[in-house]
């Protein structure tokens, strides 16, 4: 509606736009500016190209970019088809135990990458990994068959932590919402289940799938924790660890790191444009209020399917968790052969530490605050980019992609500049608010994308009916749009909570001793070589995340579309 100009919707849009621009765009501007800075941030500004020269001359740069690409192809080449099949089995067939399995994938997504990687190290380390030790006991095996410090080890760690679980979690709701009539039409035409999946379900789900694929492609440039731990032993570097390396040098090389980040930003640009183009091209409304949930029958494939997915779940969760848990009770991480290897000492030492308690409280505050703020802000962003006719919405959409493209470390640096340089915000530095705002900013992309891919499927007529029935725009948003997407909002809220709890990259530079979180505590222990203590903190973080996920899941099952 062009007029009247001043109304609730337009004002709210302007506010949301301003907030996003300030916490997302402004740090980036500062970041790019600082790539040309001769000195350290905080000093007077002297222009120089030195940073750029250093960045491009940096040894192994090309190779790290190549590695990033190789990893992407290997991981997604396996993860995407696997996830599509799993999501389809869970959401649209009568596979037994599918609700329970979906829940397990939820859990799998929440497990912190660093912790799970730790668990797999215990299994697959070439020297003391348990699987290797077991294999060596076989008569025909003379060498450790598994080596996690390798390209395929890194791929395995990614598959086992994020790559599959996140896609299943994102695809399953979208699959579920699809109008069953589309599938049924294909079945009637003679296509068997698999054909239908391939030719009807997948193409219809294309915008949802593409949105996710694009997201993950961009995300791959970010991978920090896994490569940080597994890479150095075999001289394997990726784009993000290169940047991290530059900042964690003594003295930190801010300018070259900022220059590299700028290059990354430019590389993302075409991907974002492609995604926008895809969404604008076709009508993909598949949720019009006529929801049909009719599972496809698997027949004799039911139990084999169940067994297969079960195996996947076990690999993703029980095995690494089991070994992690075991490690907390060991005197020396990985050594089963010493006298009296088991002990409770690790637990007692960590939990009674004041440091631990403070970190726990901080984590709860940060994650909780971020989770709440996120579900207020993100749906508004999603709505404005998908639904409204405001001219700024393409810009807003692009802005919401930026946090994803930037390695968390650099977003943290950018936000540091923002807080320290602004007299209004400076007092907030050293409080939890910095961490909360940084978390909400850095998780914006995934959260908004998830909500967007659900909102796309919501028929416009559902809102129009509300307007004609007498509700204002805000009334329609509150009473119709939000309640329908509540299940998605819960997913996003939990995701933000959990990823915040284990986040290291964005908060490392913004946290002080007072505001340290559990994840940073874990990292500190690992850096000090105290793996057993690190494992204890890991388990606590995991328990926290899982507990929250369980509560929200219980709540979520009672809201949303009742069928």
């Amino acid at each position: 509606m062009p007029w009247p100009k001043l109304n609730v919707q337009a004002t709210l849009f302007a506010f949301v736009f301003a907030v996003v621009a300030f916490f997302v765009l402004y740090p980036m501007v500062l970041l790019i500016a600082f790539s040309f800075q001769a000195g350290v941030p905080g000093e007077a500004f002297h222009f120089t190209w030195a940073g750029w020269h250093a960045a491009l001359d940096e040894s192994g740069m090309l190779e790290s970019v190549f590695n990033t690409g190789r990893l992407l192809i290997a991981i997604q080449g396996i993860a995407l088809p696997v996830s599509i099949v799993i999501a389809w089995l869970i959401a649209r067939t009568d596979m037994p135990g599918r609700n329970w399995l979906e829940f397990m994938f939820w859990i799998a997504f929440f497990l912190p990458a660093l912790s799970i990687t730790l668990g797999w190290i215990l299994c697959l380390d070439p020297q003391y990994g348990v699987f290797n030790k077991l294999a060596l006991m076989l008569p025909f095996v003379h060498e450790s068959p598994f080596n996690i410090y390798s390209f395929w080890g890194v791929v395995w760690a990614h598959l086992g932590t994020n790559a599959i679980a996140i896609k299943v979690m994102l695809l399953a709701p979208a699959f579920r919402n699809m109008d069953a009539a589309l599938e049924e039409a294909a079945r009637v035409c003679g296509a068997n289940r698999f054909r239908t999946l391939l030719r009807i379900v997948v193409p219809t789900m294309t915008p949802a799938i593409l949105t996710i694929v694009l997201m993950v492609m961009i995300r791959s440039m970010q991978g920090l924790e896994i490569e940080l731990v597994l890479g150095p032993p075999f001289d394997f570097y990726v784009y993000s660890t290169k940047i991290y390396g530059l900042i964690s040098q003594e003295p930190p090389q801010f300018a070259p790191a900022s220059a590299l980040a700028t290059i990354g930003l430019l590389a993302i640009l075409p991907l974002v444009l492609v995604q926008r183009w895809i969404i604008s091209r076709r009508q993909y409304t598949t949720l019009t209020g006529k929801v049909q949930i009719q599972p496809a029958r698997l027949g004799r494939g039911r139990y084999p399917a169940f067994a297969l997915i079960c195996a996947v779940v076990v690999l993703l969760t029980l095995i690494p968790l089991g070994f992690l848990f075991t490690a907390t009770f060991m005197k020396l991480f990985g050594f089963f052969d010493i006298a009296q290897p088991w002990t409770f000492h690790n637990w007692i030492a960590v939990i009674t530490d004041d440091l631990f308690i403070r970190s726990l409280v901080n984590t709860l505050l940060m994650s909780g605050g971020a989770g709440i703020l996120a579900v207020i802000l993100y749906p508004l962003i999603a709505y404005y980019t998908v639904r409204s006719a405001f001219r700024g919405r393409s810009v807003l959409d692009f802005l919401s992609w930026i946090p994803f493209a930037i390695p968390g470390v650099l977003l943290g640096v950018g936000l540091l500049y923002v807080f320290l340089g602004n007299p209004v915000l400076k007092p907030l530095y050293g409080t939890m608010w910095v961490l909360i705002l940084a978390t909400v900013a850095s998780h914006m992309t995934l959260g908004t994308q998830i909500i967007k891919s659900n909102m796309i499927q919501l028929g416009v007529e559902l809102e129009e009916a509300g307007r004609v029935a007498g509700a204002t725009w805000l009334g329609t948003y509150r009473r119709i749009v939000v309640p329908i997407i509540v299940p998605v909002l819960l997913v996003v809220s939990v995701m933000v909570f959990v990823t915040a709890a284990r986040d290291i990259a964005s908060v490392a530079l913004l946290a002080t001793n007072e505001t340290r979180t559990l994840a940073l505590l874990q990292l500190d222990y690992m850096v000090d070589g105290r793996y057993e203590y690190a494992a204890v903190v890991s388990v606590v973080v995991i328990a926290l995340s899982t507990g929250v996920a369980l509560i929200v899941r219980a709540l979520g099952l009672r809201l949303g579309i009742r069928a």
């Binding site: 062009p2 209020g289 006529k290 009916a465 509700a471 204002t472 329908i484 579309i561």
Partner: protein, 364 residues
Amino acid sequence: MNGIRLSLQGITKRFGAARAVDGISLDIRAGETFSFLGPSGCGKTTTLRMIAGLDVPDEGEILLDGVPIVSVARRMFTQPEKRRMGMVFQSYAIWPHMTVAENVAFPLRVRGTSRPAMREKVRNALDLVGLAAYADRPAPRLSGGQQQRVALARALVYEPAVLLLDEPMSNLDVKLREQMRIELKLLQQKLGLTLVYVTHDQVEALSLSDTVAVMSNGRIEQIGSPHDLYERPATPFVRDFLGKSVTVRGRVVSSGPDGTVLEAMEADGARLHCHVHGMTVGQTVVLSIRPEAIAVLTTAVPSESNVLVGTVAAVLYQGERSECEIRVGDERISAYLQPGTTVARGQTVTVKLPAERISVWPAA
């Protein structure tokens, strides 16, 4: 005498360079059923949406009971929620996260109606559409016909000034459609509603409406009562869109006070009288007549006027009557058989075209 409830003046809507709605002006009287009829893309839904406030016109004004609700010239726009209209969408737009009762109660809730009053109005609305027993059913568990009724109840519960319906029957099966048509008509008479209806189904438009506006390419071809539109179409588009027409090419032979004599050029030169004046001798025209006006006779009728002789090309049984296609020379004439009459393919028959039912059109 009914006052004017809704008035459209010079309404135009452009999408890019194309004019989806081009200068529409019309009046809708209080208590009548007014239909917009036309093929897909003719602009009827866009017009309805502008009445509802879901689209904004580029030119023109819309007035409700004499008060402008949108005026481009005066930069006035009343938001949809303030227009006091009810609307039934083509997809029904039933909110899936609510029950039937909650769906129907929504308009009352946003108006701050008290709980007891709300309960009663919802119950009355559901009674009107026969869904009182379904009040607590979650919306996704309704059939198409039930969803449509919920949409109707929801649109009526706050006693709107005007009820807008956007092809509400197109997703229903034929039997249900017939049933809903009658129910809607009865409802409208009972409540004295002003109905604005959009459809591409001419049977629906003709049977339900007091006034029909036939639209094509954003413009109104003709407005009138169903009877007028059917019997006296003003343009070839209206003539061909409503019902069937049998057309025969002809040339004017002679004209006199009784009418004109035409020669059916491709029907073996047979002579046909009609009661239309004002043509010049030698002019080529198109004769048009409704197939139901044509009589098919199996016995030869000697020396009667307006009679053609032909052979049966095909017979289509349709239950309540049979349609047959008769070849006369190079012309093909569709006509209906009297119940009880049977003809065989290849049989020679006589068709009689009553002079008073023939209309004449310029040759295209």
